[in-house]
């Protein structure tokens, strides 16, 4: 196998080695770049109803280009409110997932070897299931007659089942569970990179455990917190499964609306427009974030 690979390389010669990349490039062209460009074009197309995306419309054809979709997006309260909510949702997911992940990551960091493996496995395990299955799993646990409600009713803490799903709590819960593994892994890795001697030094100089955490561990793990915030925020902004399956119409994000435009209203043009606005939003926010981060980094 290796030998034949070497044979190919020598036959191609150094300057034609790039030909080996051809399959990958072709794959990306066909399955990524082509749809990408096509959708971009469609977002500027006149919506004709029916099948929606102007079948047979040529890329160049005069008179089929319009800014109407974008204008509608930015002037219709329905869309602007939804965009605003999507950003708010991203921020909430970012903050909540990062906070919860930090607690869990810290627990993992402080645990003994066995407990560490168990906890890490528990964090990663949900990633082995389908996201839809995961969301429906939450129904079993948090639904009206789910485990949590049954337990609380049984203890007598509540008399009526709590409504934990199909509201903001449920959507945040679902999305947090989706992104948490990534956040936890990022934070755990950085916590473990902190030299133990630094904590020992802090304690030797008179810092209690808690004090040492705030003086040493937290500041040195801030880079992981920034990454986690960004990661969770981006997942939140692009959230689909959780708002769709665990939310209601007031909690739909732009991603859900893309699906509704394309598959329900058969308005590919509007769907594409939303997708592109969403992408632009993420790029701008990422840029702002990285600027902020660099400035705060430069100050300290």
């Amino acid at each position: 196998m290796l030998a034949s690979f070497g044979g190919v390389i020598s036959r191609l010669g150094r300057d034609r080695l790039f030909l080996l990349l051809a399959p990958v490039v072709l794959f990306l062209l066909v399955f990524f770049l082509f749809p990408f460009v096509t959708l971009f074009r469609i977002s500027f197309a006149v919506n004709e109803g029916g099948s929606g995306f102007g079948e047979g419309t040529l890329f160049y054809e005069a008179g089929t280009w319009t800014l109407a979709n974008y204008i509608q997006f930015f002037t219709d309260r329905f869309f602007t409110d939804m965009a605003l909510f999507t950003i708010q949702f991203g921020i909430m997911v970012g903050v909540i997932a990062t906070f919860v992940s930090y607690l869990l990551a810290y627990q993992i960091y402080r645990s003994g070897p066995l407990m560490k493996s168990v906890l890490l496995l528990a964090v990663i395990l949900p990633k082995f299931t389908n996201i839809i299955v995961l969301m429906y799993g939450l129904l079993v646990v948090f639904g009206r007659s789910g485990l949590v409600n049954d337990f609380l009713l049984w203890t007598g803490i509540i008399n009526e089942p709590l409504q934990m799903l199909f509201n903001l709590f449920g959507v945040l819960l679902g999305e947090t569970i989706i992104v948490m593994p990534y956040c936890v892994l990022v934070i755990v890795a950085v916590l473990h990179s902190i030299d133990d001697a630094l904590l020992e030094a802090a304690e030797g100089l008179g810092a209690s455990r808690a004090r040492a955490f705030f003086e040493v561990t937290l500041p040195l793990s801030l880079p992981a917190v920034w990454v986690s915030l960004l990661l969770a925020f981006m997942w939140g902004v692009g959230a689909f499964a959780s708002p769709y399956l665990l939310g209601n119409a007031d909690l739909y994000t732009l991603s859900v609306e893309v699906d509704r435009q394309v598959n329900w209203r058969l308005n590919w043009a509007m769907g594409s427009t939303i997708a592109y606005v969403l992408m632009a939003m993420i790029i701008v926010l990422m840029y702002v974030y990285s600027r902020l981060q660099r400035e705060s980094g430069a100050r300290s």
């Binding site: 630094l198 020992e200 030797g204 008179g206 810092a207 004090r211 040492a212 040195l220």
Partner: protein
């Protein structure tokens, strides 16, 4: 003098392995004691027990007259300097040095003043605003020292503080560290496996092996009167000969060693004819020449097998006619060693030079 630190019958087990095995010693006020020994002998573990980083299996630690076995690390008045320095990378030099005062609730202005004084002491004025990553190894070391002493702790704990410096700097820093320690008159425990460092810096040295202290004495006594074979071998070079006592008269013993060589040494109490003993003779205490002086004792003839030229001293490897090999060290006068390989020579030393060890 009242001891500042007392270690009493300290034992530390890791599972079934005993890292520190019944260690006891006192450190007087302003005294610097070294724990010296080969890798893995339990030096760091002993130090960490004193600092509170390890819980002793049994025995007691007293700091400033109080038993601190159950006192958490941050309530013990210690200053610890780590081999890696463990400076906080996200804090300026100033904030690193002032850390212990901040933890003790000292206000900012007072802190600044104290930091200034301590920085002056370690000769680092002007570096306050830098980050540790912007300092050289030697400078980091000074900052680490400043940080460890600013709060006037009862004891300064030093775990191989000079191991990360290059040779030249290490030699300068030894003396500086010792001078600063003396100036602030702080009791200190130094862990090292570098015998030179221990000899230069310590008031007393505890030579450790396998979790036990072999000997605890002033540097000169450790060198000149090693009490065990291990100590004799570990500190400096030595010729070690095993043999049996064959004669005892008015304070002198005759020991017959390998090759039926008879050596006269100073005898200590409890020795009797027939005892198996070891004799050590330091290589630099052995005289060597073409002809032994007429009244010389312990004369052994041999041939030089190898000469090691060390600049200011020559190291001769001599095979005696009776068999055993001796190391002899002589200062070089002039430019060349005075004897050369293959020459027949005599070695001799006075009765007080050799030493019986257990």
């Amino acid at each position: 003098m009242k001891p500042r630190i007392r270690v009493v019958n300290l034992v530390k087990n890791f599972g079934s392995f005993t890292a520190v095995d019944d260690v006891s010693f006192d450190v007087g006020e302003g005294e610097l004691i070294s724990l010296l020994g080969p890798s893995g002998c339990g030096k760091t573990t002993t130090l960490r027990c004193i600092g509170g980083y390890e819980t002793p299996t049994s025995g007691a630690i007293e700091i400033g007259g109080e038993r601190v076995n159950d006192t958490p690390i941050h309530k013990r008045e210690i200053g610890m300097m780590f081999q890696s320095y463990a400076l906080f990378p996200h804090k300026t030099v100033e904030d690193n040095v002032g850390f212990a005062l901040k933890m003790r609730g000292v206000d900012k202005a007072k802190r600044k003043e104290e930091v200034g004084k301590t920085m002056e002491l370690v000769d680092m004025l002007g570096f306050e605003k830098r980050y540790p990553s912007q300092l050289s190894g030697g400078q980091r070391q000074r900052v680490a020292l400043a940080r460890a002493i600013i709060h006037h702790p009862e004891v300064l704990l030093l775990d191989e503080p000079l191991a990360n410096l290059d040779r030249k700097l290490r030699e300068t820093m030894r003396v500086e560290l010792k001078l600063i320690q003396e100036r602030v008159n702080i009791s200190a425990i130094l862990v090292t496996h570098d015998q030179e460092e221990a000899l230069v810096m310590s008031d007393r040295i505890a030579v450790m092996e396998g979790g036990k202290i072999h000997q605890l004495d002033r540097p000169a006594d450790i060198y000149n009167k090693p009490s065990t074979k291990f100590v004799a071998n570990f500190i400096g070079e030595t010729n070690f000969l095993e043999g049996t006592v064959t004669g005892l008269q008015n304070g002198a013993a005759t020991v017959k060693v390998e090759g039926d060589i008879e050596i006269d040494v100073h005898a200590h109490d409890g020795l009797h004819v027939g005892s198996d003993v070891g004799v050590t003779v330091r290589p630099e205490r052995i005289n060597i020449g073409k002809q032994a002086a007429a009244d010389a004792s312990n004369v052994i003839d041999g041939r030089i097998e190898f000469v090691t030229y060390l600049g200011s001293i020559a190291n001769y490897r001599v095979r005696s006619e009776a068999g055993p090999i001796f190391q002899v060290m002589q200062p070089i006068v002039g430019q060349q060693a005075s004897l050369s390989e293959g020459e027949s020579v005599s070695m001799w030393w006075s009765r007080d030079t050799g030493l019986i060890v257990d």
